[in-house]
């Protein structure tokens, strides 16, 4: 307990200075950030280069960024047609409409965006399914949406499928024709929240949508949701009200910064380059060969390629391999790695070596399952990995 208190004290010291000493912070974070007093949120924001080092600049910077984000929301998530409505323009032909073939038609872009949105929507609904958190309504839903200006809409509703109701005509023995609706009650897997409420996954959806709109070259790639999840979760569960209220905007920028470092992993064209996921996997295999040649040889013999398992470890920064609380702890270390993401590779290598006794004795399918099923016990790993 005293050790924990000293840790808290160390954090308050490092974060209490006028100019944060990043080296000290990295060293501290590497062995884990305490959740108390929002140390983790602040540390991550610093480690992800979102907050400036000078403490007196924080407030103005945050204000500026949050305003910028709300501008993004206004610009990117606009219901087409809502801008023209208030003008009583006589020339109807100039108005935009859903069948407008012009390339700069708001409606055209709207339908195009929806294709991407369908994918984001699918993935956000199934983000961290073990956790109820993302299904819960957020304390601070998007103001523009709630204020019923109706310009900004819930993205979820944009892609919800509409189905025409069908009816069956049947007659009873008296010859009376009945129109029977065959529509059963839809299976609600996710409870619908009341108007003006938003679930956390919807907020995540909006962040990803805006990111994809701002990065059209990359767009949305599956797995990005898993990267954003831990960041958003951390900020929303912060004790500080200000951090919670602006979790959406802050997560967006932290996510954007993190993605700028790992976006090559998500880029198909970079797979075979020196920067993409391919080279990461190569590095991992190289390291394993050095540290544990027998294990590496066995995997090679069985043709158990790193694509089968390490692809996911590395792309998602291990976020699918462990339960969320453990992912947060692991990310403390991953993010405080100065040579990001060298430590990630080290850790994946350690995970393989930990399983070596099983790998060496089992056959391909058993090993395949071993490496794919998220079964790593964090405490076990913790003792071995972090010195």
């Amino acid at each position: 307990m005293t050790a924990y208190r000293t840790r808290l004290k160390q954090f308050s010291e490092v974060l209490g200075t006028d100019v944060v000493d990043m080296d000290k912070l990295r060293k501290l974070c590497f062995s884990g950030c305490p959740c108390e007093s929002g140390y983790r949120s602040i540390s991550w924001k610093l480690l992800l280069n979102y907050l400036p080092l000078k403490k007196n600049e924080w407030d103005s910077w945050k204000e500026k960024q949050r305003a910028l984000y709300s501008q993004f929301v206004h610009e990117m998530i606009v219901k087409p047609g809502s801008t023209v409505n208030n003008k009583n323009n006589a020339d109807v032909t100039m108005e935009d409409h859903p069948l407008n073939p012009n390339p700069d038609s708001e409606w055209g872009a709207y339908f195009k965006d929806n294709e991407m949105l369908v994918q984001i929507d699918k993935d956000c609904r199934r983000l961290c399914p073990d956790l109820f958190f993302f299904q819960r309504p957020t304390e601070y839903p998007c103001e523009e949406m709630v204020n019923a200006s109706n310009k900004v809409e819930t993205l979820r509703k944009r892609v919800e499928q509409c189905v025409l109701q069908s009816e069956t005509v049947s007659r009873n023995w008296l010859g009376i024709t009945n129109m029977m609706s065959s529509r059963k009650k839809a299976h609600e897997e996710y409870s619908v929240l009341s108007e003006g409420e938003e679930a956390h996954w919807e907020v995540v959806e909006r962040i990803l949508f805006i990111y994809a709109k701002l990065n059209p070259g990359l767009g949305y790639i599956q797995g990005m949701n898993e990267i954003l999840g831990p960041i958003y979760y951390t900020f929303v569960n912060d004790p500080d009200v200000d951090c919670r209220r602006c979790a959406e905007a802050d997560s967006f920028f932290c996510f954007t910064n993190l993605m700028s470092e790992i976006r090559d992993n998500f880029n198909k064209t970079m797979d075979d380059s020196d920067f993409g996921i391919g080279s990461m996997m190569k590095q991992l295999m190289q390291m394993l060969k050095e540290k544990d040649p027998a294990c590496a040889r066995k995997l090679e013999e069985q043709e158990l390629k790193p694509q089968y398992y390490a692809f996911r470890y590395l792309t998602l920064l291990l976020s699918q391999e462990f339960p969320l609380p453990d992912v947060l702890r692991i990310w403390d270390s991953l993010l405080s790695d100065e040579k990001r993401f060298q430590f990630l590779i080290t850790m994946c290598c350690a995970m393989l070596i930990l399983l070596r006794s099983d790998i060496l004795k089992d056959d391909f399918p058993t090993n395949m399952k071993l490496l794919q099923v998220s079964h790593f016990f964090f405490n076990f790993l913790f003792q071995k990995c972090f010195r």
Binding site: R126, Q161, V169, G175, P365, K369
Partner: protein
């Protein structure tokens, strides 16, 4: 080392757009359970199930792939080794069905030529949200002569059958490939017909059934309309379908009578057109 606990090893691959339920299908088959909340598959996933087919223990090694375009470079490398490929779409999402042809092209490009294929329309329990009719699935499958099934991982409809049919199809052609060291009773193989490939019906049969269906599909709704205008309290028979049958029989016999009369008059009537006469005389009219 460990003794082989199976006779044959089949490698199967699941492909299709993201969110169509590939992982759920596989989970239903391998664990006989359903989970609505699956995380999205990143890269590739893997499951094993041993089944018995034709007296042989067959180990199915099933690869589950990520649906999104980005992962294709990784997933296409598995096409080559696959002996059977399941192409899944979602009946409640028309777009996933439209992409079937894209996936088929992928198979043509990357898989072995003799790979066994199967098309699955998943989520067939959600009939109230259906966007793709079963007929459309049937017709695209017939067009490419690939077996087709509608499945539901949730309601456990046809899942087992789909995997077993695909395995059977692979088993059926295994003996011809001499690569398999373990001999398989060839006679037995030839005897068992391939259940899963729907043999195209004889053209005459198809035409007949179409003719038989035509009056029904047109007549029944018409009849329903008619019934609405009839006084409701005068039932002809205890069962509505009997009314319909009687009506069809009545109209049918009337039509038959008219047709018979027309046919009887036909030879005596003069040919209405010179071309027709020329054709009738066996000459070919070239002018």
């Amino acid at each position: 080392m460990a003794k082989k606990t199976y006779d044959l090893l089949f490698k199967l691959l699941l492909i299709g757009d993201s969110g169509v339920g590939k992982t759920c299908l596989l989970f239903r088959f391998s664990d006989d359970a359903f989970n609505t909340t699956f995380i999205s598959t990143i890269g590739i996933d893997f499951k094993i199930k041993t089944v018995e087919l034709g007296g042989k223990k067959i180990k199915l090694q099933i690869w589950d792939t990520a649906g999104q375009e980005r992962f294709h470079t990784i997933t296409t490398s598995y096409y080559r080794g696959a002996m059977g490929i399941m192409l899944v779409y979602d009946i409640t999402n028309g777009k996933t069905f439209d992409n079937i042809s894209k996936w088929l092209r992928n198979i043509d490009e990357h898989a072995n030529e003799d790979v066994e294929k199967m098309i699955l329309g998943n989520k067939c329990d959600m009939d109230d949200k259906r966007q793709v009719s079963k007929d459309r699935g049937d017709s695209i499958a017939r067009e490419h002569s690939i077996p087709f099934l509608e499945t539901s991982a949730k309601a456990n409809i046809n899942v087992e059958r789909a995997f077993m049919d695909l395995a059977q199809a692979i088993l059926n052609k295994t003996p011809s490939k001499d690569s398999e060291p373990r001999g398989i009773d060839v006679h037995k193989q030839e005897g068992s017909s391939r259940k899963c490939s729907p043999s195209p019906p004889h053209p005459c049969l198809a035409a007949l059934s179409a003719l038989a269906w035509q009056p029904y599909s047109i007549g029944w709704p018409l009849f329903g309309q008619l019934q609405q205008h009839l006084p409701t309290a005068c039932p002809l028979t205890p069962f509505p379908w009997m009314d319909y049958l009687l009506l069809v029989l009545f109209i049918g016999s009337a039509l038959a009578a008219v047709a018979a009369a027309a046919l009887a008059r036909l030879p005596s009537s003069p040919p209405p057109h010179p071309h027709a006469r020329a054709a009738g005389d066996g000459h070919i009219c070239c002018q």
